[in-house]
Symmetry: C2
Subunit: 256 residues, 2 copies
């Protein structure tokens, strides 16, 4: 149960990566920004919905977000946080109650763990899972639609698949726009500015078998990268892999 899991996180009995935890429930990428930047960032998310699908946005100062979970406290219920000051990573606390301010706005952004669970249910193999590594991610040449200080390039995750599995993966993930939805590209990496699949910018390289093609999805690292490059005086995000586990069953995110 997500609420039980979050209690373990809150009491520091769980401090690791949330990959595979409460697999049937959506996990969220977190961005926590001063309200002076929140309006620009909200427009950034709306303009780049495949990379930044919003599960929830809080009011300034609001750290309980009931639509994400019962009794959820965003300041304590994530196993690890990254704190940025003037665009630099300054601290990695496991609790942000002492950093909380009345002007902070919480953004919860959908995560590929949700559609990966749906792909696994449909027996679509996931190479990075089979090889026990983090999914490979790449900065593309595709510019984000900018808003205020937030811009940069689209970051994608890549999963190699057979043609038939790629077709099935398009069908399955198209039903879930709030967790990145359909792929943004498949086939030629060079077509989107990726030079070498064996050198991902984030995560780990995976093997690609004969007759497989790379399938690319918009990735939640995109907003994090946009926040870093905006060099805000103050911002908080989840530590990579250490997501917020919500009460939202993945299956309920299907639009059809």
């Amino acid at each position: 149960m997500p609420s039980t899991f979050r209690e373990q996180v809150r009491s520091k009995r769980f401090t690791g990566s949330t990959a595979g935890q409460c697999g049937e429930y959506a996990q969220a990428n977190l961005a926590i920004l001063p309200s002076a930047y929140a309006e620009d960032f909200l427009r950034f998310c709306v303009r780049n919905p495949k990379a930044c699908p919003l599960l929830a946005v809080g009011e300034p100062g609001q750290f309980e977000i009931p639509q994400l979970g019962r009794d959820l406290d965003i300041r304590t219920d994530v196993p690890g946080y990254n704190v940025y000051r003037d665009g630099e990573l300054s601290d990695q606390p496991d609790d942000i109650r002492e950093l909380w301010r009345d002007d902070l706005v919480v953004f919860a952004i959908g995560c590929s763990f949700s559609f990966e669970q749906m792909l696994a249910r449909e027996r679509v193999p996931l190479r990075h899972v089979d090889e026990g590594v983090t999914v490979p991610m790449y900065r593309t040449a595709i510019p984000n639609h900018a808003a205020g200080p937030f811009g940069g390039q689209l970051v994608v995750s890549m999963r190699p698949m057979s043609g038939a599995h790629a077709i099935r993966a398009v069908q399955v993930t198209s039903r879930f726009p709030s967790v990145h939805g359909a792929p943004v590209h498949l086939g030629s990496p060079a077509a989107i500015g990726i030079e070498d699949l064996s050198s991902p910018d984030y995560g780990d390289a995976v093997s690609i078998h004969e007759h497989e093609l790379p399938v690319f999805w918009a990735c939640g690292v995109t907003p994090q990268s946009a926040i870093e490059s905006a060099r805000l005086p103050f911002a908080i995000a989840h530590r990579p892999g250490h997501m917020l586990v919500t009460d939202i069953p993945n299956a309920t995110l299907a639009v059809l």
Copy 2:
């Protein structure tokens, strides 16, 4: 209007290919078989639904098929017929009233013209249309699920697309299972036993641009090829490209 168009066909004022005629309405591949073989062929269609999606099946001797069109007469309303005797093409009449028998069963099978109209509406370019040729088709190494004398290999049509258009094409055609539905494969031709894309088994080769990949759909030539290889004493089909124009709007075939 399809009924007006069929009147022109019936009176021999129209005798050509139906490509582009009444584009908003479904066209059908035709197979007309003696009832002794109809049961096997019906099972063949049911077992191979991507290649042989049935729009309608008649009763033995029934040449009016109201679910396909008002006042439709299958013996006169197709611009050209192929008649097979002992598995050989024996005649190409433009009317089969004199050949009609009380034991003939009509099968109307969905046609890719319908999903191509939907792709064009979504601004997905179709290379063979742009180049003014017939779509390239290939015999694959994928065996059909056999029934009685009907077997053989899956035949596919191929349309080259960018990655983004391929993804959109999967989404669009998935909504139309009765006109072949989603692609069966994309990417490596060798993975499905196609050696050379520039040498199609039917239709014409088309150019493939940089960063494009071939996208393959199950093709209505599959049942025609299965009928030919079954070497029935007697069978009738439409002449390639000379389809039955029905009253069914393509848009109404969408399952979602």
